[in-house]
Each structure stands twice: as structure tokens, then as C-alpha cells.
């Protein structure tokens, strides 16, 4: 009669299997980052980063992202508040529409934006008549970033507004404060943590935007060339500069991720302290 393997040995074997899989995946994920830092002429980086080419790229990146983020926050916040606090037919459809760019391939976003705004496009003709041409301008970069990055903000913002106890807004109203001021004085401050977390993600996505931008705005240095497009262009002419931009973006991304995690844990600690105010589930809205 064969003895069954002891359970202890089975458990150890399983753990070893898990560790092996994790080891392979994590090594693969870390490899490009390690390669980037070992291949990049780290000593040259300060010099490379001061190159006028990169200065131009940085200016374009910051300018377009600043505008795009203004659009995302300025239009996304009211949209999220509306979708979070009102129930109406078609709401689920609108939420899906807001989220769609998350799963849309960037190339499709690019071709879609072209179809909408280029000459002969859906809005292109009236815009042309008004003397406005958007494709291959800095505005095109802004629109591309807004299109692909806004869902990251709006999704988080909806969740943040939904997490605010609706009775706090009710309380505000019975205290004589109208809906707009209630939004400003109660909902917005209480959702602020979630809004910032969403914005950090949207910002990161905007900085990394490549596919839609190159199709809709092109890769014109000083006009539409952002950091990611810069890496792509410098690949052949100045590989070191590409690597340097890469290092810069890795550091930026890590900082963004860290910021997001810090904001998230800060929010958790805040929400635990306010959870005493959560309504019991049996109560009606």
C-alpha cells in the first residue's frame, strides 16, 4: 500500500510553486526597469536633460497636460457629482460611456478624434468654416489627453461622491443651505481625498499618452511632441536621450504611484474615523 504524501510536504510544495511563479513574473516586470537604469548613461543625465530639444519637449508636455487636466477636473467633477447623486433612466449607459475610453485602444481613440475634428469630419467642417483647425495642433494633444485620461478621474470621482453620506447633504439643506452651496461646503470637501486620488491617476495616464496623440496631433517638435513621443523620435538619432527621458518618466511614475497610495491610505484612515456616521443599512435614503 502506498503511503499518501504527508500534508505538510504538500503544503510546502504548493508554496514553492507559488513562489516560483511569482519569482518569474516579478523578474520579468523588473527587467526593463533595471535595464533602463543600467543602460542609461546616468552620469550624463543632468547634461542630457538640459538639452534644448528636451526643454522644448518638457514645455509642450507640461502645457498640454495642464490644459487637459483643467478640462478633466473642470468638466469631470460636475459630471461625476451628477452621476453619483442623481438616479435617472439611462444613467448606467452614461457611466459606461464615461468609462469606455479606459478599454478603447488608443489608436481607435486617435482615429475617432480625427473622424470628429479633421477637415470633412463630423465637427471638422463647421469648425473649418469658423476658421478653427484642431488636428496636428497643441489643442489636438490636449483633446487626446483629455479623451484617454478623463475616465480615470471621473470614475474615482463618482465613487468618492457616492461615498459621502447623502444625509449630510440633507442636513445641509434643512439648515437653509441651497444645493450648490451644499455641494461646495459638504460634498466637495468630503470627497476631496478621492478626487485627488483620481486626478493623480488621470495625470499619470495623461503624461504617458502616446497612441491617440501621435495619430491625432502628430509628432511635431515644439508643437505636439510630448515626452513619450520624444522617446520614440530620439530612438534612432539619440538613444541616450531616449533612455534619459525614460529614466525621468520612471521616476515620475513611481512618484505618482507613491502619491496615490499615500492618498488612498490617508483616505482610509479618514473614512474609518467618520464611519460612525454611516447610516445603518436598514434606513431609507
Amino acid at each position: 500500500m502506498r503511503m499518501p504524501t504527508t500534508p505538510g510536504a504538500g503544503r510546502a510544495g504548493f508554496t514553492a510553486l507559488l513562489a516560483l511563479a511569482a519569482g518569474i513574473l516579478l523578474t520579468f516586470l523588473a527587467l526593463p526597469l533595471v535595464a533602463l537604469f543600467t543602460q542609461a548613461p546616468l552620469g550624463e543625465i543632468p547634461h542630457l536633460l538640459s538639452e534644448p530639444v528636451l526643454q522644448e519637449i518638457l514645455v509642450v508636455t507640461l502645457k498640454t497636460n495642464a490644459f487637459a487636466n483643467l478640462l478633466i477636473i473642470g468638466l469631470g467633477t460636475p459630471t461625476a457629482y451628477l452621476l453619483a447623486t442623481r438616479r435617472f433612466p439611462g444613467r448606467a449607459l452614461l457611466v459606461t460611456l464615461v468609462e469606455l475610453p479606459l478599454v478603447l485602444p488608443p489608436a481607435v481613440a486617435g482615429i475617432g478624434l480625427l473622424a470628429a475634428f479633421s477637415a470633412g469630419g463630423l465637427l471638422g467642417t463647421p469648425l473649418q468654416e469658423a476658421g478653427i483647425s484642431i488636428p496636428f495642433t497643441q489643442w489636438a494633444v490636449v483633446l487626446a489627453i483629455t479623451f484617454v485620461a478623463s475616465p480615470f478621474y471621473v470614475r474615482q470621482a463618482i465613487a468618492a461622491f457616492e461615498a459621502v453620506d447623502p444625509r449630510l447633504a440633507d442636513a445641509s439643506r434643512t439648515l437653509g443651505v441651497g444645493p450648490a452651496l451644499t455641494f461646495w461646503r459638504v460634498s466637495l470637501p468630503l470627497a476631496a481625498g478621492g478626487l485627488v486620488a483620481g486626478w493623480v491617476l488621470a495625470f499619470a495616464r495623461g503624461i504617458g499618452e502616446f497612441g491617440a496623440t501621435i495619430m491625432f496631433a502628430g509628432n511635431v517638435r515644439g508643437v505636439t511632441q510630448t515626452l513619450t513621443l520624444g522617446i520614440y523620435e530620439q530612438l534612432d538619432s539619440n538613444f541616450d536621450l531616449s533612455l534619459a527621458i525614460g529614466v525621468l518618466l520612471v521616476i515620475l511614475s513611481a512618484a505618482v504611484l507613491l502619491a496615490y497610495k499615500m492618498i488612498s491610505s490617508w483616505r482610509t484612515s479618514i473614512s474609518t474615523s467618520t464611519s460612525l456616521f454611516r447610516p445603518s443599512q436598514s434606513l431609507q435614503r
Binding site: L168, A171, R173, T174, L175, G178, L190, S282, Q284
Partner: protein
């Protein structure tokens, strides 16, 4: 307004405050319509003058106690100071609500509601979120405060004892309908249906009535009978307050005294000079001075008497008599499901 959970109490408060819009009916304050379905009148919450204290207080967690009070549209620093003093929360003025105790939160919520000088005060289960000790304390403070304020106040509770402690008049609400509105004493003394009778702490004994003139005979479920000087028929409830039941020192002889019942003492609690017992199906309350009470012994038999003048006969739910049951439709109620 007293009723079981799910009766629609909170919905009524929300309708008065303007947070829920009923399908029909009207709400008026001082002849000023706040809501009138027929006329299409609807004032937003901020246009009404109500102070609503939410069941779990709904204090703004991001604002200090002082800023919670100062939040209201018409509150001014002097008013805030006055309320901080009056509700004894001045020492907490810089504290955020998250660290306050239940009793403190309640006082802050009350002060915040009063800060805008409302014309109506609405309290949603003001005592339910508190532990027993705080509850008793707050009840006393609340009664004093409500007396001083002299504001029309609607408060809701599932516990009739809260109504006894705090209210002059009470409405019993069940499943969206008001069953009876009266002074708190009258509700307990002359309930018009079995639910109100039980809610106000009375015994409700099931019996079958055989009508007679001028007296009717009521047969209890165990076959014992009592008589009442009223006409009753069918399935009825015999309503009597525990304190009105008498404990007899001896078994009745030849039906004297009348309306005596025999039962086993199921439970017996002596609280100082007060004695609470359950004899058969009847809750009895008597005082230790009462000599007959000495005969009560858990597990033993006892004789009790239901004095006919203390008995109210009500129709039982589901019987034919229920059709005559007084029911009033709540003006503010809507067709939607409550709570």
C-alpha cells in the same frame, strides 16, 4: 409619533422637512403651504424653517463642533455661543464630531438644528442611538429643553415610553396609517385598537364575546369568563393596564368578587416596593404593601381580578369588528413604500 420600524415615521419627518416629496396631500405651517400636491406647491428644504435632528445625527465630519453649529444659514456667532453654553458643549467647540460620545453628538445635532432658529423642530428617534444610561439622562435634559424652547416639535420613536417622557400628544402610526391621535394618557387609557393597546403597555387578552344586554360575556382562550357592561361580539381583545389588575387574597366564593381569574404565576420580579408578575396570560403590577401580593409565588397558582371599570374592549385585527376600526389616512403619506 410612535410606531414600529417600517411604519413610515421617518418618511413623515422627511416630508415635513422637504427631503421627501409625497405623492399627494398637503403640509402647511401657520397657514403657509409648504407642500400641496393639488396646487403644485413645493418648497425646497432650505426654504422651509425646520430644524431636523437626524437619527444618527449626520454631523459634518470635516467641521468642528463650532463650525457645525455655525453652518446654518441664519446662525450668528452670538447664537452659536449661546447654544454651545446652553447645551453644555462649549468645551467641545474645536473638536471634530468623530471623537464625540453618543450623548455629545446628540447635543451637537440639537444645537445645530436650533442654530438657524427654526419654527418647527423635528427629532428622528432622538434616543435610539444612545446606550441605556445616556438615554435616561438625555431624556430628562431633552424634556427640560423642549419645555424651554416652546417650539412645535414632532419627534418619532418606536418606544411609547419615550412618548410618555417627552410628548403631550402622540400619534400611533402603523404601516403608513395613523391609528390613533390623542394625549399620551388617553392613548394608554382608552386605546381604540389592539395594536395601540399593546404599544402603550397594556395587557391585550384574546377572547370571544357573546353579546348580551346590557352586559356581554367574554370567554378567554382558556375557557375562563368575565363580564363587561358593554355590547361586544366576535373576536375581541380585553385591554387592561398591568397596574389595574388586582391580586386576590382568597379564591372567590359564589362568583364574588366578579371577573376573577385563576392562573399560574409564570414569572415574578420584585423591584424594591414594586412587584411585576405574570399570572396566566396577564401582566400584573402591584405594590409590596398590598397584602395579597405576598401570596404570589413563582410556579404557584394565584387569583386575580380584572375590575370591569378598568377594562376596554377592542376589536381584534382580522375579525369582522375590524371594519369599524377607526383609521385615519395620514395627510403627508404617499403611496411609496415607507422606510
Amino acid at each position: 409619533m410612535v410606531g414600529p420600524s417600517g411604519a413610515g415615521k421617518t418618511t413623515v419627518l422627511r416630508a415635513v422637512a422637504g427631503l421627501a416629496r409625497p405623492a399627494r396631500g398637503h403640509i402647511r405651517f401657520d397657514d403657509r403651504p409648504w407642500f400641496d400636491a393639488a396646487a403644485g406647491v413645493w418648497l425646497a428644504p432650505e426654504e422651509r424653517s425646520v430644524g431636523l435632528v437626524f437619527q444618527d445625527y449626520a454631523l459634518f465630519p470635516h467641521l468642528s463642533v463650532r463650525k457645525n453649529l455655525a453652518y446654518g444659514a441664519r446662525s450668528d456667532p452670538a447664537r452659536v455661543d449661546e447654544l454651545l453654553e446652553r447645551l453644555r458643549i462649549a468645551h467641545l467647540d474645536r473638536t471634530k464630531p468623530g471623537t464625540l460620545s453618543g450623548g455629545e453628538r446628540q447635543r451637537v445635532a440639537l444645537a445645530r438644528a436650533l442654530a438657524r432658529r427654526p419654527q418647527v423642530l423635528l427629532l428622528d428617534e432622538p434616543l435610539s442611538a444612545l446606550d441605556a444610561h445616556t438615554r435616561a439622562e438625555i431624556k430628562v435634559q431633552l424634556r427640560e429643553l423642549l419645555g424651554e424652547l416652546a417650539l412645535p416639535t414632532i419627534f418619532i420613536s418606536h418606544d411609547f415610553r419615550d412618548a410618555i417622557a417627552l410628548a403631550d400628544r402622540a400619534a400611533v402610526i402603523v404601516a403608513g396609517k395613523i391609528r390613533q391621535v390623542d394625549s399620551v394618557e388617553s392613548l394608554a387609557r382608552s386605546p381604540t385598537d389592539a395594536f395601540v393597546a399593546a404599544l402603550t403597555g397594556n395587557n391585550v387578552l384574546r377572547a370571544t364575546a357573546s353579546p348580551g344586554e346590557p352586559r356581554s360575556t367574554l370567554t378567554l382562550e382558556d375557557g375562563q369568563q368575565i363580564e363587561v357592561p358593554a355590547r361586544a361580539a366576535g373576536s375581541v381583545g380585553i385591554v387592561i393596564a398591568p397596574g389595574d389588575v388586582e391580586v386576590l387574597a382568597a379564591a372567590p366564593t359564589d362568583g364574588d368578587p366578579a371577573n376573577a381569574l385563576r392562573g399560574k404565576v409564570a414569572s415574578l420580579t420584585r423591584l424594591g416596593r414594586r412587584i411585576e408578575a405574570r399570572v396566566g396570560p396577564v401582566e400584573v403590577e402591584c405594590r409590596a404593601e398590598d397584602a395579597a401580593s405576598l401570596l404570589l409565588e413563582t410556579g404557584g397558582d394565584a387569583w386575580i381580578r380584572l375590575p370591569e371599570e378598568a377594562i376596554t374592549v377592542v376589536p381584534l385585527d382580522g375579525s369582522a369588528a375590524t371594519a369599524a376600526e377607526p383609521q385615519r389616512t395620514l395627510p403627508a403619506s404617499s403611496t411609496q413604500r415607507f422606510e
